[in-house]
């Protein structure tokens, strides 16, 4: 096995034993990047030189006996967090030249944990998309089938992990943007409870839904990475003051025999039969290993989540993206005649179609005369959806469902029909609306060789439980040992 295809804990064992150096690991990962990046295009910006310096520092620390949670581990960062001194584009032309003077809290924490940053991963523009096709910097291809999308919006991060162009990665998830690409690329993707990971330094798409999470080859790696980035941050008012357990240690303490709910509405029309069958087989595994499986019902979540989401997310986005105006940073149009024209031209040239569509939609639903009918109504239905989850999770430790209704679709297949694209997030979106943690773990492949994901939805701030449930299945099946042939 090449170093680039190992997991975080396997590499750490080797680092501790002195078998390899952080520099060796980074060299291996960069060899892999050189081999496959031309086909996959997972990155917007590579940070090779800085990474080499970080690896050297990691090796020095190891020599001094200072080994931390992620010392010497090469990670990819979705290009949506600020990294001081490195272009942070959010996949947009309007930020193509923006170099932040500060680090996001997660970046600060990863640095403190000793991590090495390979680069900034591709994404849908401002995280608006489910296929990574809206990026200004070109599409990312699914490592399992280069004619297909990797999912999105964290498609670059997912593809980088799947293609072994990093060991693990961070993504962000507003409506499924970690879990869906994880499912489509055959990796583990965890969206934590809203408020567990600081959003400071994460360019906002929809503030009440955005959450940073981890993308890795195994549940154990996801747990390790989560431990490094979770925790209260004074700079984010929505950050929760919760204790951060040792998630990896919790995995070992797991009790098993959970009560797991299966929302019947998540298996209806639109679900690809092969995907449905793989997920049901996973559910059977839980039943067979002593878990209590009960059918539950989430009618409102299933029926209304997409509508609620696109009203709330676009409303927030229309305001969050107002700051991109070509005045203080980013791209300014050369055509502007006056200050108002500066806004028009810079924004018209700087944003892509999907972003414009969502800004227009969000502006419309907040505008005078429409607020109550659209935005306020959506917020009320959001309350009902959250209540529905709360009720169901009172009797269940977690819920099981497909992550995405289909496996990876073809590039360009849905880009001309926005609504069809929105519907691909049907199982993930309600989890963001309710603020709950959700994880996608690989649960098999289609006959065409495309990965399928199982979504597990947990109770608020019970990431430890969620990870244990995910690991229980993962260990039995070991899908993670398969790597795409590139």
């Amino acid at each position: 096995m090449e170093l680039y295809s190992l997991t975080i804990h396997e590499l750490q064992d080797k680092l501790r034993a002195g078998e390899v150096t952080a520099a060796d690991i980074l060299t291996s990962v960069y060899q892999r990047i050189d081999q496959v990046e031309g086909k996959v295009h997972a990155y917007i910006t590579l940070m090779k030189e800085a990474a080499q310096a970080q690896a050297a520092a990691a090796d020095a620390a190891i020599r001094n006996g200072d080994i931390r949670a992620l010392t010497g581990i090469p990670l990819a960062l979705k290009d949506i967090y600020c990294v001081q001194g490195f272009t942070t584009t959010c996949g947009s032309r309007i930020l193509h030249n923006f170099v932040p003077p500060y680090d996001a809290t997660v970046v600060e924490k990863l640095r403190a944990a000793g991590a090495v940053f390979t680069g900034k991963a591709n994404m849908d523009e401002f995280a608006m998309g489910s296929s990574t096709e809206t990026s200004y910097f070109g599409v990312t291809r699914n490592p399992w089938d280069l004619t297909r999308i990797p999912g999105g919006s964290s498609g670059g991060s997912a593809a980088a992990v799947a293609a072994d162009e990093c060991i693990a990665a961070l993504g962000s998830d507003t409506g499924g943007s970690i879990r869906q690409p994880a499912a489509l690329c055959g990796i583990v993707g965890l969206k934590p409870t809203y408020g567990l990971v600081s959003r400071y330094g994460l360019a906002a798409y929809a503030s009440s839904l955005d959450q940073i999470g981890t993308m890795a080859r195994t549940v154990e790696d996801a747990a390790l990475l989560l431990g490094a980035i979770a925790g209260h941050d004074e700079r984010d008012s929505t950050s929760f003051k919760a204790d951060v357990p040792d998630y990896r240690a919790e995995l070992a303490r797991s009790k098993g025999r959970w009560r797991l709910g299966v929302p019947k509405e998540f298996f209806g029309a639109g679900l690809d039969p092969e995907v449905g069958a793989a997920v049901k087989a996973a559910i059977e595994h839980y039943r067979a290993t002593g878990c209590e499986i009960r059918e539950v019902s989430l009618p409102l979540a299933a029926e209304y989540a997409i509508a609620v989401y696109y009203l709330i997310a676009t409303a927030e986005a229309s305001s969050n993206l107002a700051r991109y105006d070509g005045v203080r940073y980013g791209r300014r149009s050369a055509k502007a005649k006056d200050a108002v024209d500066l806004y028009y031209q810079s924004r018209a040239e700087g944003f892509g179609d999907e972003v414009k569509r969502r800004i227009i939609l969000g502006t419309h639903v907040l505008s005078s005369g429409y607020y109550d009918a659209y935005y306020l109504r959506a917020q009320k239905v959001r309350t009902l959806i959250r209540n529905e989850f709360t009720a169901v999770l009172r009797d269940c430790d977690a819920l099981l469902s497909p992550t995405s209704p289909t496996a990876a679709f073809k590039l360009g297949e849905k880009s001309s029909d926005p609504l069809a694209m929105y519907l691909t997030d049907i199982y993930t979106i309600s989890v963001n609306l309710a603020g709950l943690p959700g994880i996608s773990v690989p649960c098999g492949f289609t006959t065409g060789g495309l990965p399928i994901g199982l979504q597990i939805i947990g109770r608020p701030f019970d990431e430890a439980g969620l990870l244990s449930i995910a690991r229980h299945y993962e260990q039995a099946h070991g899908w993670y040992s398969k790597h795409p042939s590139l």
Binding site: D236, S237, S319
Partner: protein, 480 residues
């Protein structure tokens, strides 16, 4: 037809905090451009707002001072509009759940004369909310330059009911409000520095009409006098429009305090649509009884209550109280002086007249003053007990204002004690009678005033130290 004016004010006040409303960068004035900024102020991608507790404390305290109801829960909203002075292109403000509701500002209208207290009135407030200030634009011929130092400064917006009826009332409101806020430590309210800014909504209507007329908004009124002048001018302008049969257009006008003229800025051609919605980045604020009680304990007596107390308890004349009370430190100084045993009226006079005159001459503030309450109390007691005369006391005051020595030390060193040695006084009186035969004769023939010439001569001979009461007695005896 007879018309009356209806005026409402929107007053923006910068709170005196060390850091900005939603981030830890310093709030301040007069710093080099674009140096009081950070990712939050510049609205960089990923920056998030976090509430400054001190700003909340200050606005709640303001609400307590002005008798507002403090909302148990208030929230933050985004007001969306594009403008280069607004880094996020939305302002964080409070839309439908402000923190302070109702309340009133007590005002004093001009009295019939300078020394007569005017009528007091309470002007009801609609609300007070908290928001963030914007940056500053410097407009040039072909472009504008932006400085974001001011952006994000905590800003309190005080909205009155449309309940003012004259320019004088508006002037009185701002004066009283400024006194209350400065005394409460809420803001320095320096209008020249933009720490207090006022917009006025003015309309007129026929007397007896209850519906409001078309309002005109006056902006950029950057001193309290300009507010008064601008409103007076606008009322006259609207009356003139009505008298010439015209109609008043809803618009925003800019009043130039220097020229006394106003001009239209923009009519409401395109109504704004601010698309207010709750800010998802900020959690609501809950204000419980304990929080309010802690702040209530820091609220000191309202300046008008204090003025009434000074008049009633210390029998101070209105003119003296209206000098002492608007400056809290001065009024405190006075009360300390009285507590040290000084007669209140004498102390009030010394402080309001002599102390302020000496400080002004030396360009010193009260805190830099060498004269402290103990000095004044000592001086008042020396005069009261007849140790020195009032005229000697004036000289002693000047000396102690410069040296900071206590009055009895000065009196002792300079030998200024009044003479009560009757033997010596009798010699001086006899000499004065001898030197002023005409006056002596005049007094004997019934001219009471003639006595003054003799007494004056005695005082002169004694170098001002003769006790006037004894001099009077002895002179009358020798002439009798």
């Amino acid at each position: 037809m007879k018309y009356e004016a209806v005026i409402g004010l929107e007053v923006h006040v910068q709170l005196r905090t060390a850091s900005k409303m939603f981030t830890r960068v310093a709030a301040g004035y007069g710093q080099p451009e674009n140096t009081l900024v950070d990712p939050v102020v510049l609205a960089l991608p990923g920056a998030l707002p976090v509430m400054n507790k001190e700003a909340l404390d200050k606005i709640i305290k303001t609400g307590l001072i002005l008798g507002c109801e403090i909302a148990a829960v208030c929230k933050w909203d985004r007001k969306n509009y594009f403008y280069p002075d607004s880094p996020k292109n939305y302002q964080i403000s409070q839309y439908d759940q402000p923190i302070c509701i109702g309340g009133a500002v007590e005002i004093e209208l001009p009295g019939a004369a300078r020394n007569i207290m005017g009528e007091h009135k309470k002007i009801p407030l609609t609300r007070i909310h908290l928001e963030e200030d914007v940056g500053k634009l410097n407009h040039g011929a072909s472009d504008s330059l932006v400085d974001y130092n001011r952006a994000g400064t905590p800003l309190m917006e005080i909205v009155t009911d449309p309940a003012l009826t004259s320019a004088d009332e508006a002037y009185a409101l701002l004066t009283s409000l400024r006194t209350a806020l400065v005394q409460g430590g809420i803001s320095d309210c320096d209008m020249e520095k933009g720490q207090m800014r006022c917009d006025a909504n003015i309309s007129i209507r026929p007397v007896g009409e209850t519906k409001l007329g078309t309002k005109v908004e006056l902006k950029n009124l950057n001193s309290i006098s300009f507010v008064r002048d601008g409103i007076a001018h606008e009322i006259r302008r609207q009356l003139a429009v009505k008298e010439s049969g015209g109609t008043i257009v809803q618009e925003t006008r800019d009043f130039d305090g220097q020229t006394g003229a106003s001009q239209s800025l923009r009519s409401k051609e395109m109504a704004h649509d601010y698309r207010y919605f709750p800010d998802p980045d900020l959690m609501p604020v809950k204000v419980d009884e304990a929080w309010k009680a802690a702040l209530r304990a820091t609220v000191s007596e309202h300046h008008f209550d204090r003025q009434r107390r000074f008049m009633a308890d210390y029998l101070l004349p209105y003119t003296i109280t209206s000098v002492l009370v608007p400056e809290r430190e001065l009024a405190d100084f006075f009360e300390v002086t009285v507590k040290l045993g000084a007669a209140p009226q004498a102390a009030g006079n010394w402080i309001a007249n002599d102390l302020l005159r000496e400080l002004a001459a030396a360009k010193l503030s009260l805190t830099e003053s060498k004269v402290q309450p103990a000095h004044i109390a000592g001086l008042v007691k020396l005069v009261e007990s007849g140790v020195i005369s009032n005229s000697i006391a004036k000289e002693v005051f000047v000396t102690m204002a410069r040296s900071g020595e206590l009055p009895d030390v000065i009196v002792e060193r300079q030998g200024l004690k009044q003479s009560t040695d009757t033997g010596e006084l009798e010699k001086w009186v006899a000499a004065a009678i001898a030197d002023n035969p005409k006056a002596a004769a005049g007094f004997r023939s019934g001219n009471e005033k003639a006595l003054n010439a003799i007494k004056g001569a005695v005082m002169k001979a004694s170098g001002g130290k003769a006790n006037p009461k004894l001099v009077d007695e002895i002179t009358r005896k020798q002439l009798g």
